[in-house]
Amino acid sequence: MTALNPLHKLWLTETVRLREEHAGPLEDLEANRLARTAGGDLPTRIQQRALHLAERDGLTAALGRWLQGARLALVLLAVVALISGAGLAFAALGNGLTPVNVFWALGSLLGLNLIVLTSWALGLLFAGEHSASLGRLWLWLSEKLARDAKAAQLAPALLLLLQRQKLNRWAVGVLVNSLWLLALLSALVILLTLLATRRYGFVWETTILGADTFVAVTQALGALPALLGFNVPTVEMIRASGDSALNIESARQAWAAWLVGVLLIYGLLPRLILALLCLWRWKRGRAALRLDLNLPGYSQLRERLMPSSERLGVNDAAPQQLHAVSGGVSELHSDGALLVAIELDDQHPWPPKLPGNVKNAGILDSRESRHKLLEQLTRFPPARLAIACDPRRSPDRGSLALIAELARSASATRVWLLQAPPGQALDAERLGDWHAALQQLELPFADCAPLNWLESGHD
């Protein structure tokens, strides 16, 4: 197996994609790792991965066999082309016993070629990518000659790959035109050999056309070859050949040169030019072949081969347990009842209407207000303290620490979890978090105002 050229690599990549699309993803951990280590841009990595998978699953070898089959098929077609070319020449000149009808000879040398050429050109212009039965024949033959089940996706992959750049027509064009070129070359060689070694007389025949037509046609056809130095029969020779084959050497040579010239200019030359044109387009298109990264099969590989985001792992581990806040009660002599709210927004009307003996400590939010209240509570601890919280806020450590500190400076504390303002609902999960946190602080809580308790000490 020779080294893979870029086209082969793209081809194998496309084959692997089709296989994965139809038969499910392949096991690719190793291939992905290798592709990632190899680096490069995404198409390079995708190719790297595909080549590894192809090598592992024997696709590369299958490709080798397929190429061998293709070469064999090409040889077969070339042999057929050579034989049919020779056949053309024999059929055109006949057995030499009867004079050669020049226009029949010309027709059988060029007729089929021109018809097929026209149909190919029309196909190229109108039918798009799926014409050229000769090209199909070659693909079909190579598949048969490769005899490999693994190769099942190879031919479609190549077709799809080339179709994306509209390269099929040029590849097939190279093939078709070169084969015809070969056939015509073979016809030319046989023609020259026959003309060199046998004696042919040339005539033309007609029933309804005049001799002038033939003179005109002969000279028109011979004009281009004449530029290259091929003889054109003189008018007298043409007229004379209408009656019977001229038995003069110069006439025979002139007709033979005319025939060869016409074959060369109208048969070989167009095919040669078209073959070169197709070859040029093919080479140019081939250099521009790329993977189509927008295909779902490839875009799904991006995250595996060139992840746009990766986790870096933990770089500062979680502690065994968080700093715990503990509750407690004040043992000091305490008196009175106090209501305080923590971090309320303007959606709650505050304070509620309070009984006479219950004092309102306002809303705690800033550091200063906290300090002030805590100072005061430490000096005059209340007997009953109610703390109102909005359970829409999250029960963070700071708020819980504040609640615990407030509770520690009162003899008895209750937490009042406020209802949601009208038109809104409390988040059940967050409420649950509050309940759990307050249970841990061992503080009683309720969702209704503990005003009775504040006032009288019992419910």
């Binding site: 089709l18 059988s108 990518e129 077709l159 179709q163 986790r311 933990v314 968080l322 800033s366 999960e429």
Partner: protein, 455 residues
């Protein structure tokens, strides 16, 4: 190779820092997200790369919970007669013992922010601007790193964006970004990185590269998605079941099941493409399928295809015959070409049409998927695609792919590609002997995908 830009994602507990990271990294499994406060208790990083080159490192940090007490503590760290600046004070705090006890979580955040180039300060825009948040910002500002406030949950109806804007402006933070991590706007990431580029002029080139790459990837995802949907539609349009009339109800229910499973496969492929989990969306049941009895034999596309095939057969036969004619020197006078043409035409007709003609004679009928079902499938997948485009990777709810209530989707012309597919049963993965890699099928898939993409 430039050094990656390091960003610490900081903020109060429970404001969606891990969610923001999930959405920015398109990684649904990053960290842990829950309603409980202090869910994340460690610092975890993620890296964003373009073409294999690391451009951005994001660090998820624990939430700040006790900023008021911390600020209090920090202010008491100044020894008499000395005046420390922010970073110096923090350095003293991080050396002290409280940084390992009461303020352990806060210390983690500050250490990480000090090690980063900038911080993203995540805000739950539904929260009122409380004193603790102001203190939090003051503590964070003392790190001496640029901070970019990110307003999360702005798509909620109760957000207080104006309050936050005003409060942040008072603290000297004028640049801020709206970015809902559950429903990020289409250009949310671009805005975020552009705002960052204003704060960090040096990092502008790599941020711009990141923006361009994300745009390119977004586009590539759109095209891939359109192709997946086109494949689904072609598969369903080309699907064909040959049944005897008595088994009709059974056949219709089988067909419906097959189509539904095929749709679910498409849904899963789309989810995978967008980096979501398979359970993140589910297609609801298809409405009752109207079984379409396609008398396909006279479908114009079938006839056209037949014409092409038979024509091709005739041409190939004639060419073979002409070869024979040539080899024998025209002695057969074209008889071989004629015979070849007839044989070739007949062979092609039998090959491409024979079994279906036979079925017709035996009284079988062919069941295909109704036009309106195809329209519905296209509509539902496009809706899903739209939802996926606007879904953040932090979203927890599942997308329901539903049937629209109004009936307008039942009308309208189907694209040509689907009409073509009707005549090519081998294009459907739901049929036996499918030839999915046929170049003609791919051509139609691409044409249909292009139409879906532009629509």
């Amino acid at each position: 190779m430039t050094k990656p830009l390091k960003l610490a994602v900081v903020g109060h507990t429970n404001v969606g820092k891990t969610s923001l990271l999930r959405t920015l990294t398109r990684d649904v499994g990053f960290g842990e997200v829950s309603h409980r406060p202090s869910t994340t208790r460690h610092v975890e990083g993620a890296r964003l790369s373009v073409e294999g080159e690391a451009l951005l490192e994001l660090y998820d940090t624990p939430g700040l919970e006790d900023a008021i007490a911390l600020l209090d503590y920090l202010e008491r760290l100044d020894r008499p007669g000395e005046r420390l600046d922010g970073p110096a004070r923090l350095a003293r705090f991080l050396e002290g013992s409280e940084a390992r006890q009461r303020f352990e979580q806060e210390a983690k955040v500050l250490r990480q922010l000090l090690a980063c180039d900038a911080g993203l300060y995540v805000i739950d825009a539904r929260e009122p601007v409380l004193a603790k948040y102001r203190d939090e910002l003051q503590v964070l500002a003392s790190c001496g790193k640029p901070l970019l406030p990110v307003l999360n949950f702005v798509s909620s109806s109760e957000h207080r964006e104006p309050d936050w804007r005003e409060a942040l402006a008072r603290l000297g933070l004028h640049a801020l970004v709206r970015f809902d991590s559950v429903a990020p706007p289409e250009d949310g990431e671009r805005r975020l990185y552009e705002s960052l580029a204003l704060l960090l002029e040096n990092a502008r080139p790599q941020l711009e590269r990141l923006i361009l790459d994300q745009q390119a990837q977004r586009q590539a995802r759109q095209q891939s998605a359109a192709r997946l949907i086109a494949e689904l539609l072609i598969d369903c349009a080309a699907c064909r079941r040959s049944v005897v009339t008595e088994d009709e109800p059974q056949a219709i229910s089988d067909l419906r099941k097959a189509v539904r499973q095929r749709e679910q496969r498409c849904v899963e492929a789309l989810l995978k493409l967008f980096g979501f989990r398979p359970q993140d969306a589910a297609a609801s049941d298809l409405p009752l399928l109207d079984g379409r009895w396609g008398d396909d034999l006279f479908n114009p596309e079938t006839l056209k295809q037949l014409g092409v095939r038979v024509g091709g057969g005739i041409a190939a036969g004639a060419a073979a015959g002409a070869g024979v004619d040539l080899l024998v020197g025209g002695l057969t006078l074209g008889a071989a070409a004629l015979a070849g043409a007839i044989a070739g035409g007949a062979l092609q007709t039998a090959r491409s049409y024979g079994s279906r003609l036979l079925g017709k004679i035996k009284g079988q009928r062919e069941l295909t998927v109704d036009d309106s079902v195809l329209r519905l499938l296209a509509l539902r997948q496009r809706q899903l695609l739209k939802a996926l485009n606007l879904r953040g990777h932090a979203a927890m709810h599942s997308i329901k792919v539903d049937t629209p209530q109004d009936k307008t989707w039942r009308e309208g012309k189907l694209p040509d590609a689907l009409h073509k597919a009707r005549a090519h049963p081998q294009w459907s993965s739901l049929n036996p002997h499918a030839k999915l890699s046929q170049a003609e099928r791919q051509e139609q898939v691409e044409a249909l995908a292009a139409r879906l993409d532009e629509a």
